[in-house]
């Protein structure tokens, strides 16, 4: 078990001031705090006040009425969902069904699908995606950073199937796509990302 210095726990528990933690350990304390900040930053939620107050002002239904209402209310409402958070973040290796090619775009056969690649490389001059879908040719599939915000992307039509890949930054730096949900050892000491391309029709 990977245990950390107990003073870090004490500082985070509020039992020890940060000054009581050796300087070399303080970054650890800050990392935890930063992670917590990320989780806290959900964004402004809608106020519930009017909804709750409306319910409070309404006379509480009798027990039998509540039961009737419960029985009558729908319990299985299916909505279109977005994938779970960590999967959603795999838009870097997103599994997309072709929907409608209205207004342009490639015609896809029923055995093809789309793979979308996204990566954040703010200082890069070029980014390519290289993998088993292009015979690992380092320069054949460039990503684009159209608005120069450091976010590079491209969408590729591929035969349905499973592929391994990495990003290549500035023609020389090989980078695993960590937003991809699936990783696999490459037998060269690194990890490849894996994308599954789903066919159009199914």
């Amino acid at each position: 078990m990977n245990t950390i210095d107990p003073r870090i726990h004490q500082a985070l528990d509020g039992d020890l001031p940060l000054e009581g933690v050796p300087a070399e350990l303080r970054p650890v304390v800050r990392r935890i705090a930063a992670a917590a900040d990320l989780l806290a930053a959900v964004g402004p939620a809608v106020s519930l006040e009017s909804r709750v107050m409306a319910e409070i002002r309404r006379p509480a239904p009798s027990r039998s009425r509540r039961l009737t209402r419960w029985l009558a209310s729908p319990h299985a409402i299916t909505f279109r969902i977005r994938p779970a958070w960590s999967l959603a973040l795999a838009t870097a290796a997103a599994v997309l069904m072709l929907f409608v090619a209205r207004g342009g775009g490639p015609e896809l056969s029923e055995h093809e699908g789309l793979a979308q690649f996204v990566g954040r490389f703010p200082d890069a001059q070029s980014v390519h995606v290289v993998g088993s879908f292009n015979d690992w040719r380092p320069r054949s599939l460039p990503l684009e950073d159209q608005n120069h915000d450091g976010v590079w992307r491209t969408t590729v039509v591929l035969p349905a199937g499973i592929y391994e890949y990495m990003f290549v930054v500035d023609g020389e730096r090989w980078v695993t796509d960590h937003l991809a949900e699936r990783l696999v050892a490459d037998e060269f000491g690194r990890e490849n990302s894996v994308v599954i391309v789903r066919p159009v029709r199914r």
């Binding site: 994938p83 779970a84 929907f99 592929y163 090989w174 060269f188």
Partner: protein, 221 residues
Amino acid sequence: MKLSVALLALLAGPLAAQSARARLEGRLPSAAIPAVDSLVQLAFQEGLPTEPLIQKALEGGAKQVTGPRIVAAVQVSLAQLRDARALLARAGDRPPPLPSEVTTVAWALRRGLPAPVVERVVAALPHAPRAAAMHAIADLVAHHFDPDSAAGLIIDAVHHGLQRERLLDVSTAALHELQRGHTQAEAIGLVRQALPNVPGPPKPTRGTVAGARRPGAAASP
């Protein structure tokens, strides 16, 4: 069926030899090409898929790895294919195994599924293709689901009539429950109860299709 596969193999023999070398030339250190080519030929003669080996060699060349390391990696890939074929035989698949199934099982093992679990899935799903089932299970195992339980869920899903890529939706649903705060075991229970009602994949954003391109040299998966 078996006869025509064998005939095809005979006809494709010399072609396979040529195409491997042609693809490797200029992409790897030239000293490594004969060794890699021999391994490809060996796989071919054993009835194993050769594309994974060629891809591994091309990958090593692209990553500028030394010749010996490339050869070693291709040997590892060949060993994985042999293991996969042996597993298919143990699980009861009649030989010769379909190359696509050998590739699928090799993938499953690479992604960390224990061999007994893979065997169980192969035995429970007698018809190819099993790729989606294997990857759906591997997706769950990557999120710390118990491999046997994950396999059980996907097998159940198949018995409920879900097939192929829809099985990926089953594992997505279980991962969704995990995100909601359930344990892995609870997640499996919830999804199982709902079978076969599992939400489909999300629609792509507009404009995504319009901007899509095809790779210059698309290899087969």
